[in-house]
Symmetry: C2
Amino acid sequence: MARPSTREQIIAAAVDTLHRKGFNGTSVQDITEAAQVPKGSFYNHFESKELLAVEALERYWQRVLDGLSGLGDEKTPAVDRLRRYFQYLNEVTRQGDYQTGCMIGNMSAEMPDQSRPVRERLAVLLAAWSRAIESCVKEAQADGALRRDMDARTIAAFLLNSWEGAMMRAKVDKDATALTAFEIVAFGTLLT
Amino acid sequence: MARPSTREQIIAAAVDTLHRKGFNGTSVQDITEAAQVPKGSFYNHFESKELLAVEALERYWQRVLDGLSGLGDEKTPAVDRLRRYFQYLNEVTRQGDYQTGCMIGNMSAEMPDQSRPVRERLAVLLAAWSRAIESCVKEAQADGALRRDMDARTIAAFLLNSWEGAMMRAKVDKDATALTAFEIVAFGTLLT
């Protein structure tokens, strides 16, 4: 296998470090040390930590997309796909001992008023994430499994944002209570 | 009026600065500059930025408590108090142009794995916040205005966490969409 390029090593290290420590909690040196590349090489590849953060978000988003792939599996009823998707997210969180949380959520709390490029990227990613959920909500509504008195777009945004909020609380409490409350109330009230 | 003590000036400046810029985005110097006190005076009053953050959270919590006072107003039906409470939080956010967000939410995203004292304080404050909402949910359930097939504690935690998630999204999108979706779905599905 080809050796990953310095640029690649920096991006991979940035995803991990920014996810764990946040943008302001991470220095360029933290990233180059984690990437095991000379500190001086950073600015050959990236203009700023801010623009690297945008690329790291994009990379993290690829993982989110992998997780989202199950939402399109047409052999399973849409409402089950939807529930299993959030159960899967919660299971990942549980297995990670409620550490680090969602990188997109963390950056959404920390960065919108500090960096326009990061905020704009977050808005695009969250919109795409909402849309993926929305298609599945629409199908579940068409199946009659999910209530139809609210539009799919509103429900999808609500589910994603509520899950992000539950994840944040789980990080504080270091237990599953918030994630369980999300599953119970969100699905208990939306199912027909 | 007596001149505020240096300690007081530092705490007030810390609430504002930590709220806007986060823990890692704020230096001790940022705080002492905002407080207009000599940098050297900081450690006469606080052992660390971390322990000051705990005090700043406590101070911020007093504002949350002020907002919560309406939840106890027994002249208004409990379900209306509950809705108005979240409408009030959303209105405050809107008036602040979706900047800064909730300091408790921001710290919950940033700090749980970086500071045990901050995490423990957040857990206590979020539990108290949930409990205040829970009493009102219980009353609304007793009135028959809110569904009773889920316990008040679970509903209350869900409402608070979902609102925090919506707030985070509103900061990214810089509009009311997420807050409106929260009001529509959370209340639309929980009301009987």
